[in-house]
């Protein structure tokens, strides 16, 4: 549905509601109207409609296939006593709604131009049989109930192109038989007319957008300014209010605050509603306060704040539609009335006069503050007080009636023409599929109108004859429209019909029109072709786009595939490389996937998957060390390789060369040798630095220790780092981890002495004393070292297979049979102290590693 169609069907609904309201105000519960208005609001805001065969539009369309009926009906609606057939659609439409306010519309500049000029109005100064719709005596005085036509025509005439509305109406009328022109406009055709109308000018859209923005900005400004001011309100502490809140539960959090910036109580906020009381309210007057709070509470419960915002939105969108302003005024009133009604019901009818008096007193109090009195809202408050006083008990029958009224109105007016095709058939078979498809209609129509406007301009050249006949333009319109819409009916045929209806002396002109129409038809065909071409091009483009999209997808898939392949490779690799018991990557492997590895490769280092060794000139690497800029990383690996490698770098960090030295197990300390066996079997300690890079330290030759100590000292935070047990570990600056050799771990206490002694963490050469340097932190929590089994740690009688200390280190010992193994996760508090050793399953441990 186009904006215009929404606006017009909304307007019809609004007028119906106003009529119902005027007639049944005193009889129905006030909530009825609030609900009806909500329906109208939805009609205005939601751009599609439910087709219904019960829709008023359907009914009217079905009811008026015959000319007689049409005339009667139209005249009846238009209230045109002369009974003269309404010849022109737009005239009919303006009558249909019978809403032109006498002065209003007629006086609007451009209205008469836009309307009378080209449309071939019968109401030339001499004709007198029909009055200008703007001056229709029939029109109700309904304040401001300006008609649709007004709204539609207004921007139109502003745009200064008078010819086009005529052509549009011409199309409309042309689509139908000449004899039933008028009936179009009491039917859905009215809506599609509006659709076409809206599609006419990009300029109109510009005007609409400008108006929309203006309204939206104005509303938003007021709203946010007020909200800002309201936010400066102060909370009230009052046990009465607290009690009241307790008896009035709400799902949302309701707060009651006080402001000296307002004069009368109000509520705002949809999700966090606030009842705001003015400072001047006699808050001490509990009696009155009760009513006030109850009133606002009802508002909040019915989400009136949200409804008001939606209303403002509708007003912004339909700013050109005077009916929407009416809705805005009366919906607001009815919200208050419905609210008052609910309050009175809650308190009981006996209190209604007390409530009314409370309202009046508040008005009095408020007005007393300002000498300026304004009579504008007199009606509203009088209506309100009157309504409150007239609240009676409503019988179930009336409730049923009001429900029926709401349903009926919704069904009749909020739906669109449903049995569209059927309605079509009763008329002449005129293909109007495009009316259903608004989009298509727009494109077609813009083409038509363009050529039509050209045609009309040319027509102007026939000057006198054209002007003489009032009907001429309409017949042109008809003829043209037929060419546009109906291929079967020849233009001549149409023209003849039109001619019959018209005076004979127009015939000549009509013949010309015919020719004109023929030309037009061709032009139109060309235009259609062009459109087709455009469509083709678009299709092609979209296809191309699709194609490229596919290519991209394919590429993506490829990449994905690669990734998967890689992943598979990796997982396969890890499967083959490591025993299933040891899912943890070896240090050599970690180095091989490190970001620096590419650089190493340039210097001849490679990684051999099968043996899980780093290779250099076909020899296995047993020791690899790369100390780069402090804090970046240090990588060390040991193993039973042939060579030891130290990476040398220049100051900028660039690798200069490798220092290669023969590496054998003798170069390790005695104590480490024993550890080494375990290491080779898969035990090891891997350390991560903060960024997640592996900084792995296992054991390394004695001669390196001095360097490492020096290195750690260089970092200047050896204390903090708690590192370097026996000189075997190194740390990054700021890292809180223990550096380890083999299974050796430092602990704060032992660290310095051990380091100072220059020895390792183990008492060298004494197998009976502690074999491992079990961290005291763990020891406190129950980890023990087993004396019988070499270096094995135990926890609650089971062998420790893994200790996972996130961000610190990992201890693994895969020599322990799984059934007797225990997997521990170290829990640390914020200050990095070990608080707990958590026993987890192997699977969970696996997960932890995967996360890593």
């Amino acid at each position: 549905m186009s904006l215009m169609a929404m606006s017009i069907s909304g307007a019809v609904l609004i007028l119906v509601i106003l009529a119902v309201r005027a007639g049944l105000k005193g009889w129905l519960p006030k909530r009825t109207f609030a609900v009806l208005w909500t329906v109208a609001l939805i009609r205005l805001l939601i751009p599609f409609s439910v087709p219904s065969s019960w829709s008023a539009y359907t009914l009217i369309q079905n009811a008026v296939p015959e000319t007689e009926q049409v005339r009667y009906f139209t005249d009846m609606i238009a209230g045109n006593p002369s009974g003269e057939a309404v010849r022109f659609g737009s005239a009919a439409s303006s009558r249909l709604y019978g809403t032109d306010t006498a002065g209003d519309v007629g006086d609007l500049p451009g209205w008469e131009d836009g309307f009378g000029d080209g449309t071939g109005m019968q109401s030339g100064p001499g004709s007198g049989t029909q009055k200008d719709p703007g001056r229709n005596p029939q029109s109700k005085s309904g304040a401001g109930s300006g008609a649709q036509m007004n709204s539609a025509q207004n921007p139109q005439s502003k745009s200064g192109e008078e010819s086009q509305p005529n052509s549009a109406s011409g199309i409309q009328s042309g689509r139908q038989q000449v004899s039933s022109i008028a009936s179009d406009f009491v039917s859905e055709e009215m809506l599609s007319f509006a659709e076409h109308f809206a599609a006419l000018h990009p300029m109109l859209r510009g005007i609409w957008a400008a108006g929309f923005l203006l309204c939206a900005v104005a509303f938003a400004w007021i709203y946010f300014r007020c909200c800002r001011e309201f936010q400066m309100s102060l909370p009230i502490e009052d046990c009465f209010l607290e009690n009241w809140q307790r008896t009035h539960p709400l799902r949302r959090r309701l707060s009651i605050r006080q402001s000296d910036q307002i004069l009368s109580p109000l509520s705002y906020g949809v999700w966090r509603p606030v009842i705001l009381l003015p400072k001047s309210t006699k808050c001490g007057d509990r009696f009155q306060l009760r009513y006030v709070l109850e009133h606002e509470y009802v508002h909040i419960r019915y989400f009136d704040a949200a409804v008001k915002l939606l209303m403002a939105a509708a007003l912004c969108i339909h700013w050109f539609n005077p009916c929407v302003y009416l809705m805005y005024i009366f919906f607001n009133r009815d919200l208050e009335l419905a609210c008052d009604e609910a309050v009175v019901r809650r308190f009981g009818e006996e209190e209604k006069s007390a409530y009314a008096m409370a309202l009046i007193e508040m008005e009095e109090e408020k007005s007393g503050l300002l000498p300026l009195a304004n009579s504008f809202s007199k009606n509203a408050i009088e209506e309100r007080i009157g309504a409150i006083m007239k609240i009676k008990k409503i019988s179930p029958l009336v409730h049923g009636l009001s429900a029926a009224l709401v349903c009926g109105t919704t069904l009749l007016f909020a739906t669109s023409c449903g049995s569209y095709e059927e309605a079509e058939k009763t008329m002449e078979a005129v293909p109007r599929a495009e009316a259903v498809d608004a989009e298509e209609a727009k494109t077609n129509n813009s083409v038509e109108t363009k050529s039509l406007s050209v045609a009309l301009k040319e027509l102007g050249q026939y000057g006198p004859s054209a002007e003489q006949s009032m009907l001429l333009p309409s017949s042109i319109g008809t003829a043209e429209a037929h060419t546009a819409g109906d291929q079967e009916e020849t233009a001549a045929n149409t023209a003849e019909k039109a001619a019959k209806a018209a005076a004979e002396d127009v015939e000549k002109a009509i013949a010309q029109v015919e020719a004109e129409a023929e030309a037009l038809r061709q032009a139109e065909k060309a235009a259609e072709k062009a459109i087709e071409q455009i469509a083709e091009v678009t299709e092609q483009t979209s296809k191309a786009a699709e194609g490229s999209g596919r290519a991209e997808k394919a590429a993506y898939a490829d990449e994905n595939g690669k990734h998967t392949a890689q992943a598979e490779e990796i997982s396969a690799g890890s499967d083959t490389e490591y025993t299933t018991d040891n899912p943890y990557h070896s240090v050599a492997y970690m180095i091989s996937i490190g970001e620096e590895f590419e650089e190493y490769e340039k210097f001849g280092l490679s990684y051999d998957k099968k043996s899980d060794f780093l290779m250099y000139k076909n020899q296995t690497v047993g020791f690899f060390k790369d100390e780069t800029k402090p804090g970046v990383y240090t990588r060390l690996v040991e193993g039973s390789g042939d060579l030891g490698i130290t990476v040398n770098r220049e100051k900028s960090g660039k690798i200069t060369d490798f220092s290669v030295f023969p590496f054998n197990e003798n170069s390790l300390t005695d104590s480490s040798v024993s550890e080494d066996a375990a290491v080779k079997e898969g035990s090891g300690i891997i350390r991560w630095d903060d960024s997640g890079d592996i900084v792995s330290i296992v054991s390394f030759p004695a001669e390196e220790r001095g360097n490492l100590e020096a290195y750690a000292a260089e970092q200047g935070d050896a204390d903090e780092a708690k590192a370097v047990p026996g000189g075997t570990g190194s740390t990054d600056s700021g890292s809180k981890t223990e550096a380890v050799s083999g299974t050796a771990v430092s602990s704060e206490g032992g660290l310095k002495t051990q380091a100072a002694s220059g020895g390792s963490a183990y008492s060298e050469g004494d197998p009976n004393t502690e074999k491992t340097s079990l961290p005291k932190e763990y020891e406190k929590l129950g980890v023990k070292t087993s004396d019988e089994k070499n270096n094995e740690w135990t926890y609650k009688g089971k062998g420790v297979a893994v200790i996972y200390d996130k961000d610190h280190w990992i201890y693994t010992n895969d020599t322990i049979p799984e059934k007797k193994a225990v997997y521990l996760e170290v829990v640390r508090d914020k200050k990095d102290r070990v608080t707990e050793l958590r026993e987890i399953t192997k699977k969970e441990m696996q997960k932890l590693f995967d996360e890593e």
Partner: protein, 119 residues
């Protein structure tokens, strides 16, 4: 010199009188706790007080200093400002109990009469 302040502005001044010179941040924190204002609300109010000459602000940290003692402050009369902010269609945007417009004594008398008649 007396300065007229509204309730909410007084609340800001209260913090300054009570706690001495404070940073805007501190005032905001205190008021968030006390009356639930968010930072922007408090800052807006501080700016208003500065404009009215009740607060002087100095760097660094937007340090606020009360320029007037508590005794010299007058409560502003409600009606002075209300129309400026609460104008036009504001009462249509919010669920206000009463319309914004004022009624004349005659109209009020008439309303009371209606109630009397219908009672």
């Amino acid at each position: 010199m007396t300065v007229k302040l509204f309730d909410s502005e007084l609340k800001v001044m209260d913090v300054l009188w009570r706690e001495g010179d404070s940073t805007a941040k501190h005032i905001s924190d205190v008021l968030k706790e006390e009356v639930g204002w968010n930072m922007n609300t408090t800052y807006t109010l501080i700016k208003r007080c500065i404009k009215k000459g009740a607060i002087r602000r100095s760097e660094p940290n937007f340090m606020c200093h009360a320029l007037i003692p508590k005794e010299e402050v007058q409560e502003a009369e409600t009606n002075e400002l209300i129309n400026k902010i609460y104008d036009g269609s504001a009462d249509k945007l919010f669920a206000a109990l009463l319309g914004r417009k004022k009624l004349s004594p005659e109209q009020i008398a008439r309303l009371k009469q209606i109630v009397g008649e219908l009672e």
